[in-house]
């Protein structure tokens, strides 16, 4: 079972990201589960969502305490040291940041992959909504499922130009990260 | 086409219901009057055998409403005297479908009934009814919601100005200075300290198609207002001033007289609102001093203690409130009018003078 924890801020589409990722997994023929760390948080407050992906039905409903992956939609959230605390050894951490992966890893002492997702989104959409580039990058890194599954899941939620531009973002983000870099981890965890 | 169907349906209803008491058990002896009952030239919505007090204004009001509105109606009834005295199991005095749920939800239950009828494409009208406690106070929120959601429901409040079912406790509708068991007159207090809630204006502020006050003293007017409300496709409200001989402290035989005085002195203005605006009032031909109304009721007895200077002050206060109503609604009649307080109850051989 693959467990992913997504951190973000209220209003960044954190839960949507989790649902899309789970939807993509479902489209790829996997069992999935996504849920927010339910809160009454308002716009701007730190929020968390969880995704589980598995080849058989998922029964557990506890929160993800030791994720295989972290997706961080706002690098400033990394100032809270507990954020990365539960990450499994060797797990991947993808962060929306304009820094380079190296600089970022050095800064926080944890290996991280950086993606200027906000910037990309801002350029494409005129709004800093980093979730789609991050999901694309995540799937590119892990090769958990084809990007088409993601695009289909997005198609279930978005329409029109929003969808078109998000699909362009998917493709663009996929170019920005090394494909398959985290594949080993996911293979190991899925076993 | 619909109208024809409705007419057929009404006819069928009348035939079906007849005027005979259902003989549910072999032991029940048919009343000798049953055959005559079955030929009464009016629909009977509320039957005899209910257990209201002698001279109950609310029973009369409910009888008038149900017989005017019926038979193609269904009732949602708030907890209160009306519910208790009409449906003591295993008996019911109703000849129209009736549901009593709770004290504060008559309007919401009616909303649901109306939604169900709408879903089923039926045109049966829903009437919600309650006393002033269930309307002014505890059921007010549900009523407000019902009005706002624009349900096709006529809400009738039988206003007897206190919680009578529980034994005469003050409500939002209790008039200023009236003595009740929770606003008793005594050394320190002259009855209720606060004013009667101006519910009708609040209802009118919902911008509903029709909201009116009526009184059991003017049955012709009650019927006219019920018919008017029944014709509206949307929320309507009718408050019917209904004396309670027990709670007001008067002989049951005087129920109508006292209700009439309440109107004639201006303390219970008869007003019709449409879309929030006053469209009609019942002019008072010859306003009576409030004392004529007050002195015949024990709930105001403390206002007639000559040794107490506060008594006079409160009487003056009530007169001022009546005067305020008269001025506010322009109730003072100009000349004689068949629709004024004197004209409306004029009788003639063969029944009252009908006015539309």
């Amino acid at each position: 079972m693959i467990e992913i924890r997504i951190h973000g801020r209220g209003g960044q589409g954190n839960v949507v990201a989790a649902y899309i990722l789970a939807g993509a997994a479902f489209n790829a023929g996997r069992y999935c589960q996504a849920f927010p760390a339910f809160g009454a948080e308002r716009r701007g407050a730190p929020v968390v969502a969880f995704v589980r992906i598995h080849d058989s039905p998922i029964r557990r409903r506890s929160q993800v305490r030791s994720p295989d992956y972290l997706i961080v939609q706002d690098e400033h959230l990394l100032h809270d040291p507990t954020l990365t605390a539960g990450l499994k050894p060797g797990g991947g951490c993808l962060v929306n940041s304009n820094l380079s992966s190296e600089d970022l890893s050095e800064m926080y002492g944890v290996a991280m992959t950086a993606l200027p997702a906000g910037q990309m989104s801002m350029a494409m959409m005129g709004r800093a909504v980093p979730n789609v580039p991050l999901l694309s990058a995540f799937l590119t890194l892990t090769e958990l499922m084809p990007l088409d599954a993601l695009k289909k899941a997005m198609g279930e939620r978005f329409k029109g130009t929003v969808l078109e531009k998000n699909i362009l973002l998917v493709d663009e983000a996929a170019q920005r990260v090394p494909a398959g870099a985290w594949k080993e981890i996911s293979l190991a965890r899925s076993a | 086409m619909t109208e024809i169907k409705d007419a057929q349906r009404l006819e069928e209803l009348r035939r079906k219901h007849g005027r005979l008491a259902p003989d549910l058990s072999a032991a029940a002896e048919p009343s000798p009057n049953d055959d005559v009952r079955s030929r009464q030239p009016r629909f009977c919505g509320l039957e005899s055998g209910h257990r209201a007090c002698q001279g109950c204004g609310e029973a009369l009001g409910a009888r008038l409403v149900s017989e005017t509105a019926g038979p193609d109606v269904m009732l949602s009834n708030a907890t209160g005297c009306l519910e208790v005295f009409t449906t003591p199991y295993p008996q019911s005095a109703w000849r129209v479908p009736f549901v009593h749920s709770l004290f504060e939800n008559a309007a919401a239950v009616a909303s649901g009934m109306e939604a169900a009828l709408k879903a089923k494409g039926k045109r049966t009208k829903v009437i919600a009814q309650g006393g002033d406690g269930g309307t002014y106070d505890i059921g007010f929120q549900a009523l407000s919601g019902m009005l706002e959601r624009y349900h096709n429901v006529l809400y009738v409040c039988y206003d007897n100005e206190a919680y009578m079912n529980t034994g005469i406790q003050r409500s939002g509708s209790t008039p200023h200075a009236a003595s009740t068991t929770t606003s008793p007159a005594g050394q320190e207090r002259m009855g209720k300290r606060h004013l009667k809630k101006d519910l009708l204006s609040i209802i009118a502020a919902h911008h509903v198609p029709y909201a009116a006050s009526a009184s059991v003293a003017f049955p012709v007017d009650v019927r006219r207002k019920v018919r008017r409300a029944m014709d509206v496709e949307g929320p309507t409200f009718l408050a019917i001033h209904s004396p309670c001989p027990l709670g007001w402290g008067h002989d049951g035989a005087l129920t109508i007289q006292i209700a009439r005085l309440a109107v004639e002195c201006g303390l219970y203005p008869m007003v019709e609102f449409e879309r929030g605006e006053v469209v009609s009032v019942m002019p008072i031909r010859d306003p009576k001093p409030v004392t004529e109304y007050l002195k015949v009721q024990n709930r105001y007895r403390h206002l007639f203690n000559d040794k107490d200077p506060r008594a006079r002050e409160e009487r003056e206060h009530l007169q001022a409130l009546a005067d305020f109503n008269i001025a506010r609604y322009n109730l003072k009649g100009v000349g004689e009018d068949v629709m004024d307080t004197d004209g409306l109850d004029t009788v003639r051989r063969g029944g009252p003078v009908q006015v539309m």
Binding site: Q33, R59 | P97, H100, G112, A116
Partner: protein
């Protein structure tokens, strides 16, 4: 066909399949998404119903009462404070034997205000005379909602389908929403014999005095007891139709010869399931999923507990000053049964949305080493957070 949906949307779609004629909606977290989704389906023309957006839960319950009394299939949903605000009406609905279905998205009750999941709300109205069915996952919630209409319309007892707030309502997972034809074949149109009808004007909600009240209460109790067979039949028929079942009144999973049982209601059963798999080294345990809490299936429970030495009752609510609610009832049921009594330990966990992690399971099993029969505690309490005098 399986689709990935948020739990609330799955319920909205299941409700749509049941063709409710009147739906009353009022927002409260975590139930809000259900009525939002229903409203959207109505707005999009996918659900033809009279949607009444009321001004309170109290009115929501009253509206569905009125609607069902007038012969309409009715639906509403709520949570927590909303359920409590409805409480008076809930008793009224069941007392009048009016059929309807309500989804309770389980949530804690304040104060202190807490929007997260536990089951204090539905437990608080356990004596309201409603059938209560608890769901372990969203598929069960979907299936139970459809079954609930069949049960309520056959028994004239209202049914509350309880699903854990957030844990299920906000969880996106694959569920099968059965086809409309299938549901139609399972659920015939609603015909309420006592419906308000000018052609047959009955009076509902009369005042019943001491002469008749106990008899009416007795008949209500009997109806509840007898409804157990309807609940089982509804699930069995559903299985015939869909191949899925929800576990009837209760279901048992685990080794035949295990002498440890863990009883639980709601979604936590699945986490326990995963934990048991994760910890095969621990003492083998039967997991008893109590699906139907009201009526209380005492006989089935006795049967399920036959041969157990130890029984852990895990619940997500409790009665201050007493302890576990379900635990107490289970003890009473087993005591009245003919089998030997297991040692019964009663834990409340996950109050107010506290996560129930897999790691709790080994602690639970280990705790049996020291727990005495009848022990109760809030298992995941962290006493060090409390002032000394409040521990």
């Amino acid at each position: 066909m399986l689709e990935a949906l948020e739990g609330s949307m799955a319920i909205a779609k299941a409700v749509t399949r049941c063709r409710p004629e009147v739906v009353a909606a009022y927002p409260i977290t975590p139930q809000t998404h259900i009525v939002e989704n229903i409203s959207k389906l109505v707005a999009d023309g996918q659900l033809k119903t009279e949607l009444v957006s009321v001004e309170s839960e109290f009115s929501a319950a009253s509206v569905v009462l009125g609607a069902a009394a007038a012969g309409a299939r009715a639906y509403t949903a709520s949570s927590s404070q909303g359920i409590l605000l409805m409480a008076e009406v809930l008793f009224n609905i069941s007392g009048m034997r009016i059929p309807m279905v309500l989804t309770c998205a389980n949530r804690a009750i304040g104060a202190p205000i807490n929007i997260w999941n536990d089951q204090s709300d539905s437990m608080a109205v356990r004596d309201s005379g409603w059938i209560q069915i608890y769901c372990a996952d969203n598929q069960e919630a979907v299936d139970s909602t459809i079954q609930a209409y069949r049960i309520t319309e056959r028994t004239e007892l209202p049914v509350m389908v309880c699903m854990d707030g957030f844990v299920l309502t906000h969880t996106y997972e694959p569920v099968d929403i059965p086809d409309q034809d299938l549901v139609d074949s399972y659920l015939p149109p609603f015909e309420f014999k006592r419906a308000l009808d000018p052609m047959n004007p009955k009076s509902l909600g009369t005042m019943v005095g001491p002469d008749f009240f106990p008899e009416i209460r007795h008949s209500h109790h009997q109806a509840m007891v007898r409804s157990m067979s309807e609940i089982e039949a509804a699930d069995a028929d559903w299985q015939n139709l869909t191949g899925r079942q929800c576990g009837g009144l209760l279901s048992v999973d685990g080794p035949e010869d295990a002498d440890l049982g863990i009883l639980c209601i709601g979604s936590a059963i699945n986490t326990l399931h995963a934990a048991r798999e994760e910890h095969p080294e621990l003492r083998p345990a039967k997991l008893i999923k109590l699906r139907c809490y009201r009526p209380f299936p005492a006989a089935a429970l006795c049967e399920a507990c036959r041969g157990l030495k130890d029984l852990v009752v895990v619940e997500r609510a409790f009665s201050p000053g007493l302890g576990g609610i379900i635990g107490t009832e289970v003890r009473a049921a087993l005591a009245a049964g003919d089998g030997p009594m297991p040692r019964i330990v009663n834990y409340t966990i996950g109050l107010g949305g506290r996560d129930i992690p897999i790691e709790l399971y080994p602690q639970l099993i280990e705790s049996l080493d020291s727990a005495h029969d009848g022990a109760f505690k809030i298992f995941d309490v962290e006493l060090e957070k409390l002032a000394e005098e409040d521990r």
